[in-house]
C-alpha cells in the first residue's frame, strides 16, 4: 500500500512538469525497492497463520522452515531471499510446476510474496544436528560429486556454483545443504527431464542431463547432511 505514495508523487511531478519534484519522487521510488520494503514480521504471521485461500507455509515447510524429510517439502530457512522470491514468482506464473505451490503462489499478492520470503530468509541457515553415516559408499560418492564433480563428463561439483559447503551464492545460486533428500532428488530428476526449466541459461538442465539415477541418489543423500571430508579424519 505504501508503495503508492511515491508513485503518486511521480505522476504529480510529471503533471506539473516540476523536474526537481519528479527526481525526488524517483529517488523515493528507488528506496522502496522490493527487499527493502519487505516486512518479515508480516511474513511470519503469514507463514504461521496463512491468509484467505493460502494455508500456513509452516504446515508443509516445518515450524522453523526446516522442511519435511518424509514428504520432501523443501527447507526454506536461511535460503537467500532473491532466490525464494524468484521461485515463488515462477510458481505463480506457471514457469515452475507444482500441484501444491502453483495455486498458493497465485493467491499470494506481490507484497505477501516479499514478506514471506523475507521471513524465511531471516531464519537461521542449516547447521548439522546429527552425524551422518559417512562410511556409506553412497554418501562417499555423493560427497565426491558435491565437492569434486566428475570432469570426465564435464560435470562440475555442486559447490563450485552453489558456494563453499553448498551454502549458496546469492542471488542466482540457492543453498543446497540440509535439503530433504527426496526434494533434491525430485528436483534433479526434474532438471534432467526438463520438467523444471526455470534455471538461468539452462545450467541445471545441462547438469541434470549428465546424471545417472545412482548419482542423483548419492548426491541427494550427501546434501541432506553434508560433512566435509576433513571433519571425519
Amino acid at each position: 500500500m505504501t508503495c503508492r505514495t511515491p508513485l503518486r508523487g511521480i505522476f504529480a511531478g510529471l503533471g506539473r512538469e516540476r523536474l526537481p519534484g519528479t527526481v525526488f519522487s524517483l529517488v523515493l521510488a528507488a528506496a522502496a525497492a522490493p527487499s527493502a520494503h519487505a516486512d518479515a514480521n508480516a511474513g511470519s504471521v503469514l507463514a504461521h497463520q496463512g491468509s484467505a485461500g493460502v494455508p500456513a507455509c509452516v504446515s508443509c515447510h516445518g515450524m522453523q522452515g526446516e522442511g519435511q524429510a518424509a514428504s520432501g517439502f523443501p527447507r526454506l530457512a536461511g535460503q537467500n531471499q532473491d532466490y525464494l522470491l524468484k521461485e515463488l514468482q515462477a510458481f505463480a506464473d506457471g514457469t515452475r510446476k507444482s500441484p501444491q505451490m502453483n495455486p498458493i503462489a497465485s493467491a499470494l499478492s506481490a507484497a505477501q510474496k516479499r514478506d514471506a520470503t523475507a521471513y524465511f530468509a531471516s531464519l537461521p541457515a542449516w547447521k548439522q544436528q546429527d552425524k551422518p553415516n559417512t562410511s556409506s559408499p553412497s554418501y562417499q560418492r555423493g560427497r565426491k560429486l558435491a565437492t569434486v564433480g566428475d570432469w570426465n563428463k564435464e560435470m562440475p561439483a555442486c559447490f563450485i556454483c552453489h558456494g563453499a559447503g553448498g551454502r549458496g551464492v546469492p542471488p542466482h545460486f540457492p543453498a543446497l545443504v540440509g535439503q530433504p533428500r527426496a526434494y533434491t532428488r525430485a528436483q534433479l530428476e526434474a532438471w534432467r527431464s526438463a520438467k523444471r526449466a526455470n534455471d538461468p541459461q539452462g545450467l541445471m538442465r545441462s547438469v541434470g542431463a549428465k546424471m545417472t539415477d545412482q548419482e542423483i541418489a548419492d548426491v541427494s543423500l550427501y546434501l541432506e547432511n553434508p560433512s566435509p571430508a576433513e571433519v571425519e579424519e
Binding site: P156, C161, G168, V169, P200, L203, S206
Partner: protein
C-alpha cells in the same frame, strides 16, 4: 682460410672409402622403414602412449632424407599432409585417482599441492597478489582435459619459451603463473609451496610419457575467426552468458567471505602479462570450458568476441612493462 684445403681433403677421403658409408646408409634406411611403419600404427591406435608417440616427430624428418631410397614404403605411409598431422599425434592419458594418493612425506607434499591448487588464497597466501585460485583456469583441480591440465604440462618441461627467451624448467613455468596470472611473486624453489606444486603435478603425470603432447594439453587452439574479434559484440555475449556468475561488472561474485566466482578484470584479476590476457588463449579457454559445465556450447566467434571484450578491460599492469617505465 688455411683450414680449407684440409677440409676438402677430409671430405674427399670418405668418397674413396665407399663400403662403410653404404652400410651406415642401409642401417639408416632400415630404421626409416621401421619409423614409417610405426606412424600408421600410431594413427590407427592412439592408445599406446610411451614408445610409439615420439616416433612421428622423428619420422617426418627421416622421410625427407629417405624418400628417394624407399618409394614403396612412402606409398604405403600416409600422404605428406597426414605425416605432418602425425607429428602432432596426441596420446590419451588419464591421471591417477585422488584415492590413490600415496601416504608418507611425498603424499603429504602431493596433498598440500592440491590444496594450494584449489584454495590458493589460503595455502599460498604470501605469493598471491589478486583474488584468483589456480583452479579458476585449471578446472577440476588441474585434472580437466582442455583446461591446461597439470598432467599434460609436467612432461613438457624443460622447454624453450618465447615469452622469456630461455629454456624453462617446470618450476620456471610455475613462477610465471604466480608472477602474471596470480599477479604475485613466485614461491622460492625450496619453499614447501613450490615443492608441493611440483609434487602434485608429478604425481598427476604418473605414467605419462615425457616430451609428448598429451591429448587434452593446454587449451585447444581455435582457428582464426571469420570476423575479427570485437569487444562490442563480446559485451553482448558476456551479458548473456557470463555475467550471472562473474558479475555484470566482471569483478566476480563474493559469498561466504571469499570469491565464489573469479574476477575477470579489475584490481583483483590476472595482470596484463598473463596468458589469459592474450585474446587467442582466452578465446580457446572460454570456448572449451565456459560457461562452466557447458564447454563448447558458445560459437567460436562468440568465444573470440567475448575474449576480446574481457581483455580490453582494465587490469593490473604487466610487471615487466611496469618495471621498465
Amino acid at each position: 682460410m688455411a683450414n680449407r684445403p684440409n677440409d676438402s681433403s677430409r671430405s674427399d677421403a670418405p668418397s674413396r672409402r665407399f663400403h662403410p658409408v653404404w652400410i651406415v646408409m642401409v642401417v639408416v634406411a632400415t630404421l626409416l622403414l621401421a619409423g614409417l611403419v610405426a606412424i600408421p600404427a600410431v594413427l590407427v591406435s592412439e592408445t599406446k602412449p610411451p614408445a610409439a608417440a615420439p616416433a612421428p616427430s622423428d619420422a617426418s624428418g627421416q622421410n625427407r632424407n629417405g624418400a628417394g631410397s624407399a618409394p614403396a614404403v612412402v606409398e604405403q605411409s600416409p600422404s605428406p599432409g597426414k605425416l605432418r598431422q602425425a607429428k602432432t599425434v596426441q596420446v590419451d592419458f588419464s591421471p591417477p585417482a585422488d584415492e590413490d594418493m600415496p601416504s608418507g612425506p611425498f603424499g603429504d607434499a602431493v596433498r598440500l599441492g592440491q590444496k594450494i591448487f584449489t584454495d590458493t588464497q589460503t595455502y599460498a597466501r604470501p605469493y598471491v597478489g589478486n583474488k584468483l585460485r589456480c583452479v579458476n583456469c585449471h578446472l577440476g583441480a588441474g585434472r580437466k582435459a582442455d583446461s591446461a591440465p597439470l598432467w599434460a604440462a609436467y612432461g613438457m618441461f624443460p622447454a624453450y619459451r618465447e615469452k622469456n627467451k630461455r629454456v624453462n624448467t617446470y618450476e620456471d613455468r610455475l613462477t610465471g603463473c604466480f608472477r602474471f596470472s596470480m599477479n604475485g611473486k613466485a614461491p622460492p624453489r625450496d619453499s614447501k609451496e613450490m615443492v608441493a606444486l611440483v609434487s602434485y603435478s608429478y604425481w598427476l603425470a604418473k605414467g605419462a610419457p615425457t616430451g609428448v603432447a598429451l591429448k587434452g594439453r593446454g587449451y585447444p587452439k581455435l582457428a582464426q575467426p571469420a570476423r575479427s574479434p570485437d569487444a562490442t559484440r563480446g559485451k553482448a555475449v558476456f551479458d548473456a552468458n557470463c555475467a550471472i556468475c562473474h558479475g555484470a561488472d566482471g569483478h566476480g561474485t563474493q559469498a561466504n567471505g571469499g570469491y565464489a566466482f573469479p574476477p575477470l578484470w579489475g584490481p583483483n584479476s590476472f595482470n596484463e602479462g598473463a596468458g589469459m590476457a592474450r585474446v587467442p588463449k582466452a578465446a580457446a579457454f572460454i570456448h572449451a570450458n565456459m560457461p562452466l559445465g557447458k564447454g563448447n556450447s558458445l560459437s567460436e566467434q562468440d568465444a573470440w568476441d567475448v575474449a576480446q571484450y574481457m581483455d580490453s578491460q582494465p587490469r593490473p599492469p604487466d610487471p615487466r612493462v611496469a618495471k621498465s617505465r
